[in-house]
C-alpha cells in the first residue's frame, strides 16, 4: 500500500532538491517529473477503494497526541485535480517563464505550494492544518511577487497583511477549540464542541471561517484577490484561481460541517456567497484588463460554488463539486492563454488584443472554448454543472434558494457579456494605429499549447466525469 504521506513528502523533498540543483534545466525537469509522479500517485488513490477512509498516523504517535492524515474519496478526487493541474501548469511554465530568470526558485515555491495543498486536504489535526495553511499562504505571497514588478510587490504585501490577520483569527479559533477539548484532533474537537456552550462555539466558528475564508476568497474578505491574481505570473494565477481558493473553500466547508456542526453556518455562508457572485461579476464587467476581469470572475465563481455547497442537500454538494472541477479547467485555460497574450503583445488591456484570435488560431479556439464553458454553453462541461446547481437549488427548499437562482442567472448574463466582449475583440479587425510590425502567426509555444489542450479536454469531456465526482464532506 502506498502511504498518503507521499503526497506531502514528495513535493516537499523535490522543492528542496530543486533549490539544491539551482540550474534552470535541472529544475524544470525535476519539477516536471515530480508533477508527473504526483499525478500517477493521485490516480492510484483515485482508483483505489476508499469506501472506508484510509488513515495514517505520523511517527507512530497515535492521535490525539500525534497527527493523523486521512484519505477519503473526496480527498483523492481533489488530490487528482491538484496534481494534474499542477503538472500541466509546470509544463506550461517550461516555455512561459523567461529563461534569464532564476527558475529553480520559482519551481521550488510552486512545489511547496502543492505540498501545502495536499497537506490541508489530508490532515485531520487542527494545528497541523494551520501549519500547512501558513505554508500555502507564504508560498502564495512569494509567487504573487515573483514577477518583481511594482504592482506585484504591492499586491503581495496587501495579500500578506490580510492573510496574516486571517491566520491570527484562525489561531485564536484553534486556541478556543483546544481550551474546551484538550485535543487538536478534529474528531475530538467536534465531540467537545458539540457539548460546549453554543455562543462559545459560534465565536470559535466565526473566527475560523473569517480566517480560512480569506484564502478561500469568501465575500467580505476577498479584496486581495483581484490584485494578487492579476499581477501574479499567469502560470501562478492559473494555480491560485484554479485550485488554491477552491481547496481552501472545500476544507473550510468540511470543517464547518463536521467540527462546528452544532452551529448552523450554512445560511450566513449562503448569503455571503450570493453577495460574492454579485460583487464579483459586476466588478468583472467593469474591468478593462483581461487578467483583472478573470480575477474578479473567480470571485463570482467561488460564490457560485459556495452557494451550491451550502444548500445542504446531496445534489447541491455534488453540483458544487462538479462546478469546482469545471472552474479549475476553464479558469486555468483562460489565465494561461491570457499570459501568452501579455507575452506576445506586451499589453494587459483587452482592447490591445484585437485581431489576436486570427494570428493565434489554435490559442483563440481554446480561449473561446474556455470562455463558453465558464458561461455555461450547452455541449460543454460548464452547462451541466451550472444546470445542476440551478436544479439543486430549485428542489432544495433552502432559505434564499430562489433568490440565489436569480442572482446566478444575472451573474451568468454579466459573465457572458464581458467574456464575449473579449472574444469579439480577439476576432475583430485590428484598429489602425494598433497594428504592430509583426505579421503572421504568433501561436503559443508547444509545451503551453499541450498544457492548455489538457485543460480543454477536461472542459469538453468533463460531463462524462460527473458520476465519478464524490460529494461527501466527512472527517
Amino acid at each position: 500500500m502506498v502511504s498518503p504521506i507521499l503526497f506531502i513528502v514528495v513535493p516537499l523533498a523535490a522543492a528542496f532538491l530543486t533549490v539544491l540543483v539551482n540550474r534552470n534545466a535541472g529544475a524544470r525537469i525535476l519539477a516536471l517529473l515530480t508533477g508527473f509522479a504526483l499525478s500517477a500517485l493521485a490516480w492510484f488513490w483515485f482508483r483505489a477503494d476508499l469506501s472506508t477512509p484510509v488513515s495514517v498516523v505520523i511517527a507512530g504517535i497515535a492521535p490525539p497526541m500525534g497527527i493523523q492524515l486521512s484519505m477519503d474519496r473526496l480527498s483523492a478526487a481533489l488530490a487528482l485535480l491538484i496534481s494534474v493541474s499542477g503538472f500541466l501548469v509546470i509544463l506550461y511554465s517550461q516555455s512561459y517563464l523567461k529563461s534569464e530568470e532564476a527558475q529553480s526558485k520559482h519551481y521550488a515555491v510552486l512545489l511547496l505550494l502543492m505540498a501545502a495543498s495536499f497537506g490541508i486536504l489530508l490532515t485531520r489535526d487542527l494545528f497541523n492544518l494551520f501549519v500547512f495553511y501558513e505554508i500555502l499562504c507564504i508560498s502564495s505571497y512569494i509567487l504573487v511577487a515573483s514577477e518583481e514588478t511594482k504592482a506585484s510587490f504591492e499586491a503581495s504585501l496587501k495579500y500578506l497583511l490580510l492573510g496574516s490577520v486571517g491566520s491570527l483569527f484562525m489561531l485564536v479559533a484553534i486556541g478556543l477549540a483546544y481550551r474546551v477539548s484538550g485535543s487538536l484532533a478534529m474528531s475530538d474537537i467536534a465531540q467537545a464542541l458539540g457539548e460546549a456552550d453554543l455562543s462559545y462555539v459560534m465565536l470559535t466558528a466565526a473566527l475560523f471561517v473569517l480566517g480560512m475564508g480569506i484564502e478561500a476568497a469568501i465575500f467580505p474578505v476577498n479584496t486581495w484577490l483581484p490584485d494578487a491574481h492579476s499581477t501574479a505570473p499567469s502560470s501562478i494565477s492559473a494555480v491560485l484561481s484554479g485550485f488554491v481558493i477552491e481547496l481552501a473553500l472545500i476544507v473550510l466547508l468540511r470543517i464547518s460541517m463536521t467540527v462546528f456542526s452544532s452551529v448552523n453556518l450554512m445560511l450566513p455562508l449562503r448569503y455571503m456567497a450570493l453577495a460574492g457572485i454579485l460583487i464579483g461579476e459586476l466588478a468583472a464587467f467593469g474591468q478593462t484588463e483581461l487578467k483583472r476581469t478573470l480575477a474578479y470572475s473567480s470571485m463570482g465563481q467561488v460564490g457560485l460554488m459556495l452557494f451550491a455547497l451550502t444548500l445542504g442537500t446531496e445534489a447541491g454538494r455534488q453540483a458544487g463539486m462538479a462546478h469546482l472541477v469545471m472552474h479549475t479547467g476553464a479558469k486555468s485555460i483562460l489565465f494561461l492563454i491570457a499570459g501568452y497574450f501579455i507575452v506576445r503583445t506586451g499589453k494587459r488591456d483587452i482592447k490591445s488584443y484585437s485581431g489576436l484570435g486570427r494570428r493565434m488560431p489554435l490559442t483563440g479556439v481554446f480561449f473561446v472554448i474556455g470562455a463558453l464553458s465558464l458561461v455555461g454553453v450547452p455541449p460543454l462541461f460548464g452547462f451541466f454543472t451550472k444546470f445542476k446547481i440551478l436544479s439543486a437549488a430549485a428542489v432544495s427548499g433552502a432559505t434564499g434558494a430562489w433568490l440565489g437562482i436569480a442572482v446566478i442567472l444575472l451573474g451568468t448574463v454579466l459573465e457572458a457579456s464581458y467574456l464575449f466582449r473579449v472574444v469579439r475583440t480577439l476576432y475583430s479587425d485590428p484598429e489602425t494605429g494598433n497594428t504592430r510590425a509583426v505579421k503572421g502567426r504568433m501561436e503559443m509555444d508547444v509545451p503551453a499549447l499541450i498544457a492548455v489542450f489538457g485543460f480543454t479536454l477536461l472542459v469538453i469531456f468533463g460531463s462524462f466525469l460527473l458520476p465519478l465526482i464524490p460529494s461527501g464532506l466527512a472527517l
Binding site: E154, L157, V165, L171, L184
Partner: protein
C-alpha cells in the same frame, strides 16, 4: 482578578492594539509592527490556555514531579507560531524594502498602483 484572567485581558488588548494600528497606520513598517503586536497577543492567549496555577515546567523526570504541571501542548503551538510569525515578518519587510526601491516611499497613501 486571578492570573489567567489578567493574562486573557492583556492578550485581548494586545490583539486589539495590533489590529488597530494595522488599520490606522499608513507607514507600512508600522503596519507590520502592529501585526507583530497582534501576533504577540495571540501567543500570550495560547500560553494562557495551558496555564495551571503553581504548575511546574512540563519536563519529563525520573521521579514524578510533585504538584501539577502546565499543559505543554499550547507551548509547543506557540513555538511554531513564533517561527511562522518570524518568517512572515521577514517576508513582509523584504516586500516593503522592494516597494521602497520601486516607489520611493513606505507610505500606503503614496503607493497607488492598485486600488487599496
Amino acid at each position: 482578578m486571578t492570573v489567567p484572567q489578567i493574562l486573557y485581558v492583556s492578550a485581548f488588548l494586545l490583539i486589539l492594539i495590533g489590529l488597530y494600528s494595522l488599520l490606522t497606520q499608513r507607514n507600512m513598517i508600522r503596519m507590520i509592527i502592529g501585526l507583530n503586536i497582534a501576533d504577540l497577543g495571540v501567543n500570550l492567549f495560547l500560553v494562557t490556555i495551558g496555564f495551571v496555577d503553581n504548575g511546574s515546567a512540563p519536563i519529563f523526570r525520573a521521579q514524578a514531579a510533585a504538584g501539577p504541571m502546565v499543559d505543554p501542548v499550547p507551548q509547543a503551538l506557540v513555538l511554531t507560531s513564533i517561527v511562522i510569525g518570524f518568517g512572515v515578518t521577514a517576508l513582509a519587510l523584504t516586500l516593503v524594502m522592494r516597494l521602497f526601491v520601486t516607489h520611493g516611499s513606505i507610505d500606503t497613501a503614496r503607493i497607488r498602483g492598485l486600488k487599496w
